[in-house]
Symmetry: none
Subunit: 117 residues, 4 copies
DNA sequence: GTGGTCTAGACCACG
DNA sequence: GTGGTCTAGACCACT
């Protein structure tokens, strides 16, 4: 389902948020598609339900998904949330790019690094 | 002096390292220039001297500064430092680039943003 | 028919009650007008008939509508309903007013907002 | 400290958020003033630390307070968060006021209700 | 000692 | 069965 690495430095819930964000942004999870239940994800990942719940609630807060109590969680049909996320991601990207240039790294090097992701 | 945000999520010593690194990279701190004493920085920031000390040690370990016992710390004049500088800048650049891609931003868009800096 | 948002945090039956109450209060549903059958509303909203039934029962209990077994539900022609209507509207008004005050908005500001409706 | 009612219908963490919001908005909690530690509040209220933590994190997310790991939580020095809260509170107030008027309640009655809060 | 994360459960309202 | 809330604890990094 949502593969994560339990010992990955960053908190599990954060990895989940990132992974699901990714799946939504590339269209692997369609609008209004139902997400697997909290408990199921928890069981499959060998993680506590609370941890998954936290991830889902964060995603809902960002507007990427919406939860209907006693029904399930679904991918949000509006693009607002995703666009807001992309805006802030682009800003932080630009800032770190500026910093790299300020350190004397050539833009060409950055483009190369970009392509090798 | 070194303005940092106490409420920055990331540890203070890390912010200090990043900030001083930045100042050196843009030339605000010249080669062989003396850095302010640990205690003074600590007092001005309202932070434990140990925290500042930790930052200075990390910077020395990276070759960005060097310490003369009983005299103070100075910006390194060799080029060792610069490499460490660029390495960390490149890492943070790559990370934010990965994040942007995970949010569904196309690499082409990032290249465009890169060229318009 | 009765447009509601499935993803609205509050229970579906509650939204239904609120919406129908609103329609009656503004005269969109006339006195003694027949309400659509439970099953039909349920089908159109993609909701369980029990949920709609619950809403209708609550409305009947408030005196806003009355049910004729084997015939259907109708908007109440007496004035009992209106009072219930106004009561609930006043309650929700008071609650949001309290909340606004709790957020530090002065009562004078609220009165001003009230007059400019 | 922060008096709440454990059996108050609304979740404990929500009551806490509301109460602290109130204290900040009326100036009972000054800018940059330190909030009592999560564990302490939990002990005094006879509530689990997680519950208090949830409230603090929500407040931080709203920009009303900021948390420094291993140091404590403090009232935010900027007014951004509070202003955003007040904006949305005012909007929901206006909406329910409109609804009440649509139900046939006179504005004078609403003003009276407002003054008796 | 502090905030942040997490586990292993539990109960509730709702559909 | 579902999401939402909560308890009673635990470990970690950091100050």
């Amino acid at each position: 389902m949502f593969s994560i690495s339990i010992r990955g430095g960053s908190p599990v819930y954060e990895q989940l948020v990132k992974r699901i964000t990714e799946l939504i942004s590339i269209g692997a999870l369609q609008k209004d598609e139902k997400l697997p239940p909290v408990r199921e994800v928890a069981k499959q990942l060998g993680v506590n339900p609370n941890t998954v719940q936290k991830a889902y609630q964060l995603l809902e807060h960002q507007g990427l998904i919406y939860s209907v109590p006693a029904k399930g969680s679904y991918v949000s049909s509006s693009d607002e949330g995703l666009e807001a996320l992309q805006r802030s991601a682009l800003i932080s990207f630009t800032q770190s790019a500026k910093n790299a240039v300020a350190c004397g790294i050539k833009k060409e090097t950055l483009v190369l690094a970009l392509n090798s992701i």
